[in-house]
Symmetry: C2
Subunit: 350 residues, 2 copies
């Protein structure tokens, strides 16, 4: 089983590895000229629905950067869109919901997802990518949205600045919000089961906006449904990463979610993040993607500082602290990967 000895998988499990692994959130997509050349003007959900296209997009950054993991080209709203909730992904804006979730009546708009029928293209893409990566040290990461973050889109109707509607719903009708999150947990579980069954070797659960919550809110309203998803992933036998932006104060709680890895952004030094998540939990991060926009010296110096701070303890996956920005020069990321592979020594045995 080559895949089990891959640096990425080893790092997920806080084991010694042959090199510090690196990948980038949103490595597949708008920042790559080969992606822009391939994609027409169709919607992103259409591209996700085309296994040949999605396979190629997933593999583009692997070929270009030599990253240690491919991440499935998909979107966290694929399941809700697939069951007909009426979600579209608007370029430059994000997920937009025609008729937002507002009351118990809207629970009726959910139904279980049958991956074979509703999202057959996901399994096809994963299987094709897995076949391409077979025998290599490059792992394949699947992903899903954490219930709170998906709920925020459904309730707000789209990207939000202050998350007023979703916070209002959770506080004024916690029972309804829990039911919504439970529906979303089940959808994410189906989504991830399909990916793991088709060959995904690890998964990342994106709770991107959890950082807008207080610790008490996170524990009460977001953690239970994320735990449900992560317990299901554990039973699938693959490691999981839980990620959010601006979640420094939530790290100790996130470390109790069942994930083997916690993704952190640049707001907290990795060494401090490690203290908070405690022993046996790996950390992923945490280069500020904005630093990759300018001259090469800036991201390389920041990369060095992160590797230095991470030290030589096992259980560090290098990544950005948030997704690759569309205007990033890919050559910068190529050099960051080289630098991590040259200088990273997180649990490196050789």
């Amino acid at each position: 089983m080559e895949s089990q000895t891959a640096p990425f998988i080893g790092a997920c499990l806080s084991q010694p590895v042959s090199r510090t692994p690196v990948w980038f959130m949103r490595q597949a997509g708008r920042s790559l000229p080969e992606y822009r050349a391939l994609r027409g003007s169709g919607s992103i959900l259409e591209a996700i629905g085309d296994p040949d296209l999605a396979t190629e997009i997933t593999l583009q950054p692997v070929r270009r950067y030599g990253v240690d993991a491919a991440v499935l080209f998909s979107d966290i709203v694929v399941p809700v869109s697939a069951i007909g909730f009426g979600v579209d992904v608007v370029p430059g804006r994000g997920p937009v919901v025609a008729k937002p979730f507002r009351s118990a009546e809207d629970l009726k708009r959910f139904r279980p997802m049958d991956p074979d029928v509703d999202i057959p293209y996901v399994s096809s893409t994963v299987a094709q990518v897995a076949a391409e990566l077979k025998g290599s040290e490059t792992a394949l990461i699947g992903f899903a949205g954490a219930p709170f973050t998906v709920a925020s889109y459904l309730v707000e109707g789209g990207p939000s600045k202050n998350f007023a509607l979703v916070k209002s719903l959770m506080h004024t009708d916690p029972e309804l919000f829990a039911k919504l999150c439970d529906q979303l947990a089940d959808l994410s579980i189906s989504f991830l089961q399909a990916q793991v069954a088709a060959g995904a070797q690890a998964i990342q659960l994106f709770d991107s906006w959890a950082g807008v919550l207080s610790v008490a809110e996170y524990q009460r309203f977001a953690l239970p449904s994320s735990r449900k998803v992560l317990a299901a992933v554990a039973s699938m036998g693959v490691p999981s990463i839980l990620f959010g932006v601006g979640c420094s104060e939530l790290l100790a709680t996130m470390a109790t979610s069942g994930a083997q890895v916690i993704g952190v952004d640049w707001r907290i030094p990795l060494s401090e993040a490690r203290e908070r998540v405690g022993p046996g939990i790996a950390v992923q991060g945490n280069l500020d993607p904005v630093l990759c926009l300018g001259d090469l010296e800036v991201p390389l110096a920041a990369t060095d500082a992160i590797l230095e701070d991470a030290g030589n303890l096992p259980g560090h996956i290098f990544n950005l602290g948030h997704g690759v920005l569309p205007e990033t020069n890919p050559d910068v990321l190529t050099e960051v990967v080289k630098r991590v592979h040259e200088r990273g020594r997180a649990g490196v045995t050789a």
Copy 2:
């Protein structure tokens, strides 16, 4: 000197007080019907420039809520606007800069501000408000922008999502960025000197966007100029509050800035914030303003939790974790003030 025994001033100095003081960032402004009735369609900078109008707007929330402090109706871009940098405040958007700061050439656009000539209306407003509050326990807070946050507007040209341009400038030309921040520090010092000379009894330095910086970036690029401003304020003999959003990881560093009070948002429990700022520094916060949008039970329960967490140590000023949202029902804030005065016991002696 009634003013020195006011609960707000006592709490700033971490002294025992007769009640936990409370005020709200942006308490004066769009959420108040009496404000909307008073203001026409003119720009906010015009309203700030009219001492009678600005005095009335500053006092409106004091009358309505019975808060422990008035905060001058003004804006952090008043100084840069006054020296002719070309900044306007666009309703619903924020400060917009016609010709952003991009190179050393733009340093020539700065000149020292002479408050008597450039912003006479500020001193007039402060003096009028101070006269109205004389003999009461209501303190008068002046404020200015911290250099990093004002610089972010000047460099980005307006509100920013990822602060790419300002981060790029600080990393690629740290010397120029330091010069820019030094100019802005001097402007903030003049702005604050005028306010204190006219009767402001405390000041708040808004480094609202510092939370986008890593700890290392904050220490290198933001802290030095804020320290310069706060040292100048200390020499004026009034206490100071340093505030930013999402700054949990910066609190220990902010506590070394020279401010007597550190403002925190809802992302970190006050008890934890106190640990980080250390003894002798007061904390201000930290109710999520979004919670004030809905039913009264939610903000009152959150207020109780904050007061409970704050405990009975001196040095807590109750506030929101960010400004009052325009759509807030003022009656909710009235009830929050009542609750804080009833149940707050931070250093209460009686």
